[in-house]
Each structure stands twice: as C-alpha cells, then as structure tokens.
C-alpha cells in the first residue's frame, strides 16, 4: 500500500502549492491587480465553513442518524437570505470603523469597551479550541488511515501516546509554522490577507472536487447509480431504519437547534467573520454570495448519504469508522489515486480552517486581550516606545502557537472520546453566545455595554458548565459523577439536565438555557439603565449605518488639542514612519491641501489617525493611544447628545444634499441669474426714474429758456422770434408726448391700462398707419411698400394700441434709413395660428449687442452720424408690452449696414382656428 513518505511529500507539496498561490495573490494585491476581487472567489473563501467536519464527519453522522447531518448546511442557507441586511451591515460598519475581528466589533459597538473585547476573545479561544482539535484529529486520523489500510479499522484510539511520538503533535506544530508564515509576515492596517484568501478559495475548489469525485465513484463506480444504491440499502433493515425519518420528539428539537446554531455560526465564527467581513473587498460581492454559497453547500452534500450508505453496505458492521468512509471506500477498491485525492481534499478542509481560524483568533488575542493589558501596565511604558510593530507581530505569533498548543492539548485530553461532529457542535454553541450582543447591536439601539457583558458572561458560563466540562468528564478528565449527580451532588444542577429539563440532547439543552440567560440578561440589563454617551453614539453609528453616508462623525465626540507632528509620530509607531508619511500625505491630498505641514490637527484628523491605528491594534486600544497624544476634554452627555442629534441631522441632510446636489447647482445658477436680473431691474428702475427726470427736464429747459428770452427781449427780429416760438411749441409737444408715453408704459406695466378690444382687420390698420406717415416718408425720400394679402382672419385687440405699434415700427424704420434709395416694406401674413407683421428696412441696421437692448426703456441705438438718437427710447418698450399683452411676440432680425426687420405676431382667437388637431 502506501508508505508514509510519499504521503508526507504530497502533503508538503500541496501546502507548498498553497503558499505559492498565497504569495502570488499578495503580489498581485500589492501591484493593484487583485485576483480576489470578484464574487466567486469571495464565495469560495466563505466555503472555509466546510472543514473536515464536512469532509469526513458528515458521512459519519449520516451513517448514524440518517438525515441528521443536513441541518448544519440548511442553517447557513437560511441565514444567507438574511445576509442582505445582517452581513451588509457588518461589512459596512467594519469598513467604516476599521474593525478587524469579531471581538473588536462587539467591543466597538458597546462604547469601545476593553472588557467586552477581552471577554469575547476568551470565549472565542475557549470555544474554538475543540474545533481546532477536531481538525488535528482529522488530519492525523486520515493520515493513519491511508497509511495503515487495511489495518486502520475501528476508530483506532491508541491510548494517549506520549506526545512526542504522537504524529498529531507534529501536525500541530507544522500548522503553527504554516499559519505564522501565511498570516503574520507583516502588519496590515486593514488586516487583509489577499494571498491567504486566494489560497483558501483554491482549497475550497479542491475539497469540492475531491468529495464529488469520491461520491461519483461510490455511486456509479461501486454501485449502479442512485437507484441501485438506495434500493439495496432499503433492503437492509438497519439501513432502512436510517432512511425512514422517524419522528421522536427529540429529533425535532435537535434538528431545530442544529439549524439555529449553524445559522448563527456562519456569521459568528471567527474564521467566517474574517473571510466574510474583514477580507471582503467589495460590498457587491455579497449579492452573488447570498445564493452561490448555499449552492456550494448543496453541491458538497449531494453525495454524503450515498457514501454513507455505500460504506455501511460495503464494510461489515462496526469494522470501519464511518468518519473515514471517504478514504476507505476508494482504498478498498484499490483506487489509490482517488484516495490520495480524497486525502488532499480532507487536508484542504482541515488546513484551511486551522489557518484562518487561528489567524483570526491571534488577531483578537493580540488586539483585544494582550494589548489593552499591556497598555495599562504603566511599568512597561508602552506609550513611549518608538516602534511597536515588532512587538505586535511577536504577540500575534505567540498567540498562534498558543492556540494550536491548546488545540493539541484538548485533542490529547478529550478528543478521542467523541465523534468529530459532536466536537464541532460544542464550538458552535460557544460562538452562538455572541448572537444577542452582535445581532442586538446591529438592530437595537438600546443595547448597552453592561447588558452585553452580563448576557455574554451568563451564556458563556452555562456553555462552560453544560457542554465543555461534561466533555472533559466524558473523556475521563473530570469525575463522571460531575455529570451524573451535578455539582456538589445537587440534582437540579446536573450539567446536562439543568433544573430538571430532560429529554433534550446536550446541544439543544445548552442552547436553550444559555440563550435564555444570555438574551434575558442582555435585554433586561440594557433596559435597566440609559445608554451612556459613548454607547449611544456607537449605537447610532452601527444601527443606522445603512441609512447614512460613511461614518466619519465619530470624530465629533472628541474635543481636544494635538499637533499634527504628534499624530504623525504616533501613527508611525504602529505602521512604520514611511507608511505614516504616506498615509498623512494621502490624507492631506484628500483634503485638498498640498503640504502635510498645512494640516490642522482637528477632530477629523484625529479620527483618521485613530482608525489607522485601530487596524493595527484594535479600536479600543487605538482610542487610548490617541488619547495619550490628544489632550481630551470630556464631554457632558447633553453636549454629546446635541452633537449626535446635530450629526444625525447633518448626515440626513448631507444625504439629501448629495442626491439633490445637481439640482441644487442648477437651481443656484438660475437663482444667481435671477438675482442679477433683479438687481439690474432695480438699478434700471432707479435709472428709469432718473432718466425720466432727465428726459422731462430737457425739453422743459428749452421751453423755459426761450420763454424767458422772448420775454426779456421784446425787440427781437421777427424771424428769430418765430424761430424761438417754434422751438417752444415743438419742445412742448415733445414734452407732452414723452409724458404720455411714460404714463402709458406705466399703466400697461402695472396692468392699469384700459384695453378695448375689437375685431381688427390688420390690413386696414397697417394701411392707416402708412397713410399717416406717408408725408414723412416722402420728405425723407424713403420708398414705402406694402404686402397685405386679402382674406386673412381678424384678430381681437385694442385698435389704438396695435395702431400705435405699427406706427412705432414704421417711424423707427424711417429714422434709421440713411441711403438715398431707402426702402421700407410692410408685410402681413398668416403663420400657423397667428398673424405676423414684418416691417423691413434697408437702413443702417442694428448691431447684435444693440439688438438685445433696444426693447428696453430709454434704450436707443446711438446713431453716430447724427449725434443724438431720435425718439424717446420708449417706443419699442411700449410696443413690446402691447404685443405681449395679446400673447404675441415682437422681435428684430438685423445686420449692420444691411437693414433690419422688425416682426410681431398676434395670435388668432381660438375659436376661429380651423381644424386644429386635438
């Protein structure tokens, strides 16, 4: 058969391959071309959930309790549907607050409490240790199986080999080395390990392929398909019993408990938090993962039952441990390569779990357990140490070794007594204790630190008492009377029948009591007191994270003074001086400041530095470090509440503003223009008044002057006297005209004018106007022609006013004709639903600039040739008002030196419009 050496070589080669993948992944990440930035890799990394428990243990469980292996996978499927809310919140919060572990998360939520963080870490470590032991057991067992087949029959439990001869010990050591190499080469502020994720994703593929390969082999190789396999199984009474889903009440509860436990485990296991939250690259990956991950679980479970049944049928009862069927079945049929593939698959499953879980745990131990304590020990003067990064890495590595050592110890002491799956469920029950604090923290603002502490402690104690210690007792490490009689012989305190609750399996029993205590105390104690300022602010930030923009407002709760240099030095101590420089430079750029020296040490910068440091040592410790540099003034609760309210209002506003910023910009622009216009109108009004005054005084001046002259000089020559009188008369007329026009315009504009509409034949009106001016045209030698067709419909308007308009246009045209062959043409036409009148001249034309201006009051085109312009400047303004009163338009088209065409329209009365389309 197989000897040890090739298997070991293959194992090392495989791990080497994983390393290569990890290194490649990291290299790509550093160059910016991440290979893990897609949802498929993300989903595959989540499949680290499937450990050797899945690979070997499911088959074992199926062989003993039929369908009972399935709920562990149904639970995550159900929870995946809720990921849309739950996991998304977790990811977003963690990104915003640089949270790097589940302990950090819970501690941060409840006011950055070191105590909570430490408690969570301890529970996590104690809870996961059995699970790690399980993996160790699987690796060594699979190694022994493949090596010693066909001698590895009954679950060989050599009574505690002295550990130096126990190959599991070496496995543990090697795993420690691998984990250290995979996960602690450097400190990353984000705690992301892209290479690791790539390797894990690869392992997920390998274990899926391996398992399905074995499944196919068993179903179609050893049997003739599902039909054949199952019918043969049914033929055997014991197996048939397995298949029929009997319904003892115990089964119901177990089923439900396992579903619930696995639902919680998929988000609360440290390794799951690590890959799902911390290592997440892009929130959008969650979407695909929601259904792809359950799909993976489905795929890897298709062949569990066939393999189990196949094994049971193939091997005489009780001779081979069902946990090993995945290996032994191929081996028994001489399929060595398949067996090796299966072995590698199992190795993938185990190593993946151990590495990720251990890294996650070491991060927690370092950031949330050790560092807070060390920082508190003033004797160490850690706050004065220049470079802490080496210390941090050292602590992480020590933690990895510690965790694996504990795993081995547990395996050594207690592991042999249990089937694989049962050990795993103990771990699930432990991390389930985080659920009230975590889920409550995500959705309920009322959760307080004290509530979380008491709930967590109570749940943990019950777990300890009803699951962990009994597992020791069952392995003989504690007296068995502990189980059978309860502590101190008190019946009601029997660990697995607390208060007399019987009939539940141990898992359900523990879940029941621990959840009652945990949830009860969490809610009860939280409601007992109001949340503190820090808790309230964190609660808002966490629970409302989906509704608001990225949370930067945590910085508002600091009032303090610091210098930029201090902060930069502080940061440098954790991530190295060069990286601190880069970080500050990037921050300055984001604030639009070119030089770091110009940064101000305000709350925003402090928060930024704090979050950077939190990536290295956890958020609770980060706060302390920053506090040592920033002289902080404590805030009263009212102040903080005011700030929070202000902040949440501001956040809400900023969100609305973001959405409407485009509209606002456009509106502002329009408003600005309107304001300018208003100001101009105001100025114009003032101008208007002063211009009117000026315009009125000018003719008055002439009138008065000449009147006085005539009066004082009775002996003037007749000719001169006549001339002067003429001037007086003309200027009086001019004055009167001007006054009339001003009043007219004022009346029209203010709406006080009288309009007397009647049916107008425009031809007639135009003809009358041309007649009135014919004299002047003749005098000036301007030819006047008309183009007035017959049969046009009438319009309803005030005759005098329209006449006024036509007259105005005609006289303007006359005024601006300078050539000897001047020609003015008046045209009348029907255009769509209106009458249109054009007055065209070939005079001097109007420049583009003036075209905009001539319709305004008192604006005239300055005629350089003749000096002062003729007319009062009000004519066109009045004409426009009149035309617009009847909903028409008055405009000009002109070119300098060529001529101008003034046009206006008068809409026809509606009822007269022929056959308008609806």
């Amino acid at each position: 058969m197989l000897t040890g050496a090739p298997i070991v070589v293959i194992s090392f080669l495989y791990v080497g391959l994983l390393f290569a993948i990890a290194l490649y992944g990291d290299k790509r990440a550093n160059s910016g071309r991440s290979i893990i930035a897609n949802p498929y890799i993300y989903t595959l990394s989540l499949a680290v959930y499937c450990t050797s428990w899945t690979f070997y243990g499911s088959v074992g469980r199926a062989a003993t309790s039929g369908i009972g292996f399935l709920p562990i996978y149904l639970g995550p499927t159900l929870m995946a549907a809720l990921w849309w809310y739950v996991l998304l919140k977790m990811v977003r919060i963690s990104k915003a607050h640089r949270i790097t572990s589940i302990a950090d998360f819970i501690a941060s939520r409840y006011g950055k409490s070191h105590l909570l963080g430490g408690l969570v870490t301890i529970i996590a470590v104690l809870g996961i240790v059995p699970y790690i032991a399980l993996q160790l057991k699987a690796i060594s067992a699979s190694f022994s199986t493949i090596l010693q087949y066909p001698n590895s029959l009954v679950s060989a439990a050599p009574d505690a080999l002295p550990f130096l001869q126990d190959n599991t010990f070496y496995v543990a050591m090697l795993l420690a080395v691998f984990t250290i190499l995979f996960g602690t080469r450097h400190l990353d502020a984000t705690e992301r390990h892209e290479g690791l994720v790539a390797a894990i994703a690869f392992e997920s593929i390998v274990k899926l392929i391996a398992f399905i390969a074995v499944g196919l082999f068993v179903t179609f190789g050893m049997f003739d398909g599902f039909d054949d396999l199952f019918s043969r199984a049914t033929a055997i009474p014991e197996l048939n019993a397995l298949l029929v889903q009997g319904g003892a009440a115990g089964n119901y509860t177990t089923w439900a408990s396992l579903t619930v436990l696995s639902m919680l485990a998929i988000i609360l296991l440290p390794r799951q938090f690590q890959v799902a939250v911390v290592e997440n690259v892009n929130e959008r990956h969650l979407n695909k993962a929601i259904w792809l991950f359950p799909l993976y679980l489905l795929a890897i479970n298709i062949f569990v039952l066939p393999i189990a049944l196949g094994g049971l049928m193939h091997f005489p009862a009780g001779t081979v441990d069902a946990d090993t069927f995945v290996l032994t079945l191929p081996l028994s049929e001489g399929q060595t390569w398949l067996a090796l593939l299966a072995f590698v698959g199992g190795l993938s499953a185990s190593t993946g779990m151990v590495i990720v879980e251990t890294i996650a745990l070491s991060t927690m131990v370092c950031n949330d357990l050790v560092m807070p304590i060390l920082l508190r020990l003033k004797a160490l003067r850690l706050t004065e140490r220049a470079d802490l990064s080496n210390l941090l890495i050292g602590i992480r590595r020590a933690a990895i070794v510690l965790v694996l050592a504990l795993g081995y110890v547990y395996f050594y002491l207690a592991g042999e007594a249990y089937a694989l799956v049962s050990i795993g469920l103990i771990s699930f029950s432990a991390v389930a204790q985080f659920a009230p604090a975590m889920l409550g923290g995500l959705f309920w603002k009322g959760g307080t630190r004290l509530g979380a502490l008491t709930g967590l402690s109570a749940g943990f104690l019950i777990w300890l008492y009803s699951l962990l210690l009994p597992s020791f007792a069952k392995s003989g490490w504690l007296p068995i009377t502990f189980l059978t009689q309860g502590i101190l012989g008190i019946d009601l305190l029997k660990p697995q029948q607390l208060f007399g609750l019987q009939g539940m399996d141990e898992i359900s029993h523990c879940l029941f009591w621990s959840m009652i205590a945990n949830v009860g105390l969490y809610v009860g104690v939280s409601l007992w007191r109001h949340p503190t300022a820090a808790e309230h602010s964190q609660a808002n930030l966490f629970v409302d994270v989906l509704r608001h923009v990225a949370a930067g407002s945590g910085s508002r709760f600091w009032r303090g003074s610091a210098t930029v240099a201090d902060l930069q030095t502080l940061l440098g101590r954790f991530i190295g001086p060069e990286r601190a420089n880069e970080s500050f430079a990037a921050y300055a750029r984001s604030q639009g400041i070119t030089a770091v020296e110009q940064l101000t040490a305000n709350a925003v910068l402090v928060h930024y530095v704090e979050s950077q440091i939190a990536g290295a040592i956890g958020s609770a410790s980060a706060r302390d470090m920053v506090a040592s540099v920033v002289v902080e003034e404590p805030l009263a609760l009212e102040e903080v509440m005011a700030i929070i309210d202000e902040a949440s209002q501001a956040l809400a506003y900023s969100r609305q503003l973001e959405q409407k910023s485009r509209e606002l910009e456009a509106a502002t622009y329009e408003l600005r223009i309107a304001n300018q216009r208003l100001q101009e109108l105001d100025r114009l009004k003032d101008d208007f008044i002063s211009t009117v005054t000026h315009e009125l005084r000018t003719p008055l001046t002439s009138i008065r002057a000449f009147s006085e002259i005539l009066g004082d000089n009775p002996n003037l020559e007749t000719e001169q006297r006549a001339k002067f009188l003429g001037i007086i008369t003309r200027e009086s007329e001019r004055l009167t005209r001007l006054i009339n026009q001003v009043l007219d315009l004022a009346k029209i504009e203010s709406g006080a004018a009288e309009w007397n509409p009647s049916a107008l034949d425009m031809r007639e009106v135009i003809e009358e106007a041309t007649t009135a001016l014919s004299q002047i045209y003749k005098e000036r030698g301007i030819r006047l022609s008309t183009d007035l067709p017959d049969g046009l419909p009438v319009v309803y308007a005030d005759r005098d006013r329209i006449f006024q308009v036509v007259l105005n246009l005609l006289s303007n045209a006359a005024n601006f004709c300078d050539k000897p062959e001047s020609h003015v043409r008046v045209a009348l036409a029907l255009e769509n639903t209106a009458l249109r009148i054009d007055v065209t001249d070939n005079g001097i034309g109007i420049s583009a600039a003036d075209q905009n201006v001539i319709f305004e009051k008192f604006r005239q085109v300055s005629d350089d040739a003749s000096g002062k312009p003729k007319g009062s400047g009000l004519g066109l303004a009045i004409s426009r008002e009149i035309v617009q009163h009847y909903k028409g338009r008055l405009w000009v088209v002109s070119a300098l030196g060529v001529g101008s065409t003034f046009s206006f329209t008068l809409p026809l009365p509606r009822s007269k419009l022929p056959f308008l389309a609806a």
Partner: protein
C-alpha cells in the same frame, strides 16, 4: 449606496419560507416510504426544496429591478 429594499424584503420572505420548509411540522409530511429513484421521499424533498430555495434567492438577487 441606495439598495432597493424590495430585494431585501423578498429575501426575508424567502428566509421565512425556508424556515417553514425545512422544519419539522412540514417535514413529517414527507416521512413516508415513497421512493423516487430509490431515494426516500424525505431526502428528495429536502434536496429539491433546498435547490428551489437557492434558485429563488438567485432570482431575487440577479433580476434587474423594474
């Protein structure tokens, strides 16, 4: 990022459906001796229901919003 909450609500609904489908009261309905391709009804039901739920979740996620 504004996520359409309709998807989220649908997923929650699927969650509740799943809880119903995968738990005991409903499961006992299928605890019979009927075999499909030799496989007991319960297993077929569970796997089929599981696949159906996953497909429903995929549909909810991947479908473009109207």
């Amino acid at each position: 990022m504004i996520r359409p909450t309709f998807k989220g609500q649908r997923l929650v609904a699927l969650f509740m459906l799943g809880c119903l489908l995968f738990n005991y009261p409903l499961l006992t309905l299928f605890a019979s001796d009927i075999r499909i391709w030799g496989i007991p009804l319960v297993y077929v039901y569970l796997y089929v229901a599981w696949a159906a739920l996953i497909s429903a979740m995929a549909l909810v996620i991947e479908r473009r919003d109207q």
